[in-house]
């Protein structure tokens, strides 16, 4: 029986996050093969950890081989920010990041690398103040720059890579 299924372009319809680290699914029974195939599967998820619907331009979060790729989050993503100050924007953005990391089976202690894009460097200290509470134990490797423009009128954009921790 040939169980060689396509490993890419197979987007599962549930939020089951199981990443076995054993074997190539060449001759395994169906269920085991499917699980093993997860290792190479690219999974595109929304804010609730469900498979994205309707072929969106940007997948909020992508999971592959135990890594979680979080799209650049602005204060305009996943609902509007309540006010226009940098503290509110950072909180909104970091809440989005947290939601996506956790929806994909990670947690904030297992964010590996994170990039902060500020609309102006003047926000640096305030951003840090609002950022810190999200990493009470230890923050990830981080880079911060100010840029010429951020889409959607957000004062800050943050993207990151995390790792899957839930079996």
């Amino acid at each position: 029986m040939n169980c060689r299924l396509p490993t890419v372009g197979v987007f599962e319809s549930n939020s089951d996050l199981h990443f076995p680290v054993t074997g190539i699914a060449g001759t395994l029974p169906n269920s085991a093969a499917m699980r093993a195939q997860n290792q190479g599967v690219v999974r595109k998820l929304d804010y609730d950890g469900q498979s994205v619907k309707g072929n969106p331009r940007i997948a909020p979060v992508v999971v592959h081989n135990g890594f979680i790729y979080v799209s650049g989050q602005g204060a305009n993503d996943n609902g509007p920010a309540e006010s226009l100050d940098i503290t509110t924007h950072v909180r909104k953005v970091m809440d989005n990041v947290k939601k996506l990391v956790e929806a994909a089976g990670g947690d904030m202690d297992n964010v590996l690398q994170l990039t902060v894009y500020l609309s102006t460097l003047e926000f640096y200290e305030e951003m840090n103040k609002a950022y810190r509470p999200y990493f009470p134990n230890r923050g990830p490797a981080r880079a911060t720059v100010s840029v010429a423009g951020i889409p959607g009128g957000s004062l800050v954009e943050i993207s990151c890579i995390a790792r899957v921790v839930k079996p």
Partner: protein
């Protein structure tokens, strides 16, 4: 045994050549200099552990761009990305993350229009910002990570 002797001999001559080269004050490569593998060449992608790391592509990379508008630049950049991903053993659908750096935020919508044509089934994780400058007069630069298919 024989191979060890051969190796020793080669190693001896290699050292001799190095010493001779040094004495002659002439730059000389070791006789057994390893040739770069495809993964290490300047133009190809870096492939490691089933992942393809795509260098920042500008419209000036991989041949001259036709036109100076954002549509032409985005198309050129995305063609470069496609070529790199495929040469690394991936597909457009196996791209995991892309970072888009625009020369100006005014190009955002026009960039998106061309970008969308490369992902009819939906795109990867992406972040987009406008920056103070992109090298080579490109209006857009994109880098990212893709997965090797059937690794």
């Amino acid at each position: 045994m024989e191979s060890t002797q051969k190796w020793n001999r080669r190693s001896f001559f290699c050292r001799l050549a190095t010493v001779a080269g040094f004495l002659m004050r002439a730059p000389q490569l070791p006789a057994q200099a390893p040739s770069p593998t495809p993964q290490q060449t300047r133009r190809g992608p870096i492939v490691h552990n089933g992942l393809i790391f795509i260098s920042g592509q500008g419209a000036n990379d991989g041949g001259a761009v036709q036109g100076a508008d954002i549509e032409a630049h985005t198309r050129k950049v995305m063609e470069n990305i496609k070529r790199i991903v495929e040469s690394g053993g991936g597909k457009m659908e196996s791209i995991l993350q892309l970072n888009v750096f625009l020369a100006t935020l005014e190009d955002y919508e026009a960039m998106n229009k061309v970008y969308d044509t490369y992902f009819p089934n939906g795109g990867p994780a992406r972040m987009t910002v406008a920056v103070a400058g992109v090298p080579g007069h490109s209006r857009v630069e994109i880098n990212g990570i893709a997965a090797v298919v059937n690794a």
